[in-house]
């Protein structure tokens, strides 16, 4: 029993449109997983289904040994599954500090406190009383990650945390990942930048049109294989 998360045959629909076709995916305790795939491959839908934001009644999703399919998102969150949503989704009328504190609404205590998050992202300290909208994109992403950490998750899901950020800022954000791992938190990172994904992850899954087309450790996978799985066509 070393599996922290295990989804079997996961499907998802938007009305008549099927977005996921039987996803099998597992995350080990303490592991960092990357999910790559083109726009529209179903990566965000997968995370939304796992977290309970999208209905999953009757499906098979085990987290920390318990069946979570069909539970309310706040219940799943309180079991230790937290997400940094796509597009950051900070609360615009809350200060940086309030945005962080609200992440702890589920009442899970542990190593991550307001002070620890500010230590992880020192740039936020002097802006803690500012509104979220006054921050740079990178700082907003730091708040979104910090907010998710405030619930002391066992598993942290990060949906495209580098989207729209300059390379230097992306490096700054990714520098935090080892420090989060160090504390025993497992991660699932959705990333469009394949190089970045290979660098950070223990294992990589590639999604294409709602299916897993490839999975393995970065050293096992060749770039040609990944491109094939990513785009679905033979790349010369």
């Amino acid at each position: 029993m070393t599996k922290l998360l295990e989804a079997r045959g996961l499907t998802a629909f938007y009305g008549d449109f099927q977005a996921l076709f039987g996803i099998d995916l597992s995350v080990d305790i303490g592991e960092t997983l990357a999910i790559i795939g083109a726009n529209g491959a179903g990566k965000s839908t997968f995370l939304r289904t796992i977290t309970g934001l999208r209905p999953a009644r009757g499906q098979d999703i085990r987290f920390d040994g318990k069946q979570i399919a069909g539970l309310a998102p706040e219940h799943i969150h309180r079991m230790g599954l937290s997400m940094v949503p796509e597009g950051r989704r900070l609360f615009p009328s809350l200060s940086v500090e309030d945005n962080l504190l609200i992440g702890a609404s589920g009442g899970r205590t542990g190593q991550w406190t307001l002070d620890e998050v500010l230590k992880l992202f020192p740039a936020l300290t002097e802006r803690r009383h500012h509104g979220g909208a006054e921050l740079s994109g990178g700082q907003q992403q730091m708040v979104a990650i910090g907010r998710a950490l405030m619930s002391n998750p066992k598993l942290l899901l990060c949906d495209e945390i580098s989207l729209g950020l300059a390379p230097k800022v992306v490096r700054e954000i990714y520098a935090a990942i080892p420090l989060i791992r160090e504390r025993g938190t497992a991660l699932v990172v959705i990333e469009q930048d394949i190089q970045q994904a290979l660098k950070v992850a223990d294992r990589v899954y590639c999604f294409q049109e709602g299916r897993v087309t490839l999975s393995g450790t970065p050293s096992d996978l060749s770039l040609a294989q990944i491109k094939q799985a990513y785009f679905g066509t033979e790349v010369a």
Partner: protein, 286 residues
């Protein structure tokens, strides 16, 4: 002196209107819920105080506390059990449901209490006044209502900006869909918002009961005053409803001075003027 007197009386009345408006603004702000039965809940609170004081023989203050607790609990449960089901992206279903509720409440009150106009005696307090000079007399009841209104708005301000619940309510107003990812249940937060709004409604309704005559049909016009105060003040600002209430109250006081039949109309005119000049209200968030 006459003008000063009008301003004072209108301002004091405005406190009551601010209380009418606060609950409405809170529910709309947090969950885009337009409660058409808002005015009828104010009237229900007035009747509950009537029962507490005249039937049960309780002291008015004890009655107010009781009605406030009762309404808060009923508001929480009503939201949790009934109204949460009609909350969606679409703002129309809550309007329809609470419109129906409004009619049901009016009929039930008519059945239970008849159409007779009622008033809750406040034990002589309602006629006592402070005189300032020879021409201005401030009624103790309107004055304490105004102070209570400030107190209630102060408590709301404190809840919103200095408690965890307030943080949650502000976040829910911003982006309710993502709040469950913070570990908080939307259903519970919505119900708490309605519970708080209902407590404010209860305070407003019990004050109304002591201040003027009421009957089962006056709910919709209280709803209208509440809407006008909210829109004059601008949504999304707790103290905006106080300004809105006072502007409405002063306009009505001036109107009444010109002609008794002109009181309500003057309030509507003030509302339309503000709406024309500042469509988003005087203190709207950008």
């Amino acid at each position: 002196m006459d003008i000063l007197n009008l301003l004072i009386q209108g301002t004091l009345l405005g406190g009551l209107y601010a209380l009418f408006a606060a609950g409405l603004a809170l529910m709309f702000g947090v969950m885009r819920f337009i409660n058409i039965a808002h005015g009828d809940f104010i009237v229900v609170s007035a009747y509950l105080l009537l029962v507490a004081v005249l039937t049960l023989g309780l002291h008015p203050l004890v009655g107010i506390a009781l009605v406030t607790g009762l309404m808060a609990g009923a508001g929480y449960l009503g939201q949790r059990v009934l109204l949460n089901r009609v909350l969606d992206e679409d703002i129309l279903p809550p309007v329809l449901v609470t419109f129906g509720l409004s009619i049901i409440l009016q009929n039930a009150l008519m059945e239970g209490f008849s159409a007779d106009s009622q008033r809750v005696p406040a034990g002589g307090f309602d006629t006592a006044s402070l005189s300032l000079g020879s021409e201005i007399a401030i009624g103790l009841l309107p004055l304490s209502m105004f102070l209570a209104a400030i107190g209630v708005l102060g408590v709301l301000h404190w809840i919103f900006f200095h408690t965890h619940l307030g943080r949650l309510l502000r976040a829910t107003a911003d982006d309710a869909a993502i709040v469950p990812l913070m570990g908080a249940s939307n259903a519970h937060t919505f119900a708490l918002a309605t519970g708080i709004a209902s407590a404010v409604v209860a305070i407003a309704g019990t004050m109304l009961a002591m201040k003027t005559n009421f009957d089962p049909t006056i709910g919709p016009s209280r709803l209208l005053f509440a809407f006008e105060a909210v829109i004059i003040g601008g949504l999304g600002n707790i103290w905006g409803v106080l300004a809105g209430g006072i502007i409405l109250g002063v306009a009505q006081a001036i109107g009444a001075q010109i002609d008794a039949g002109f009181q309500i109309l003057a309030g509507h005119i003030a509302f339309l003027v503000v709406l024309a000049l500042r469509p988003r209200g005087l203190f709207a968030k950008s």
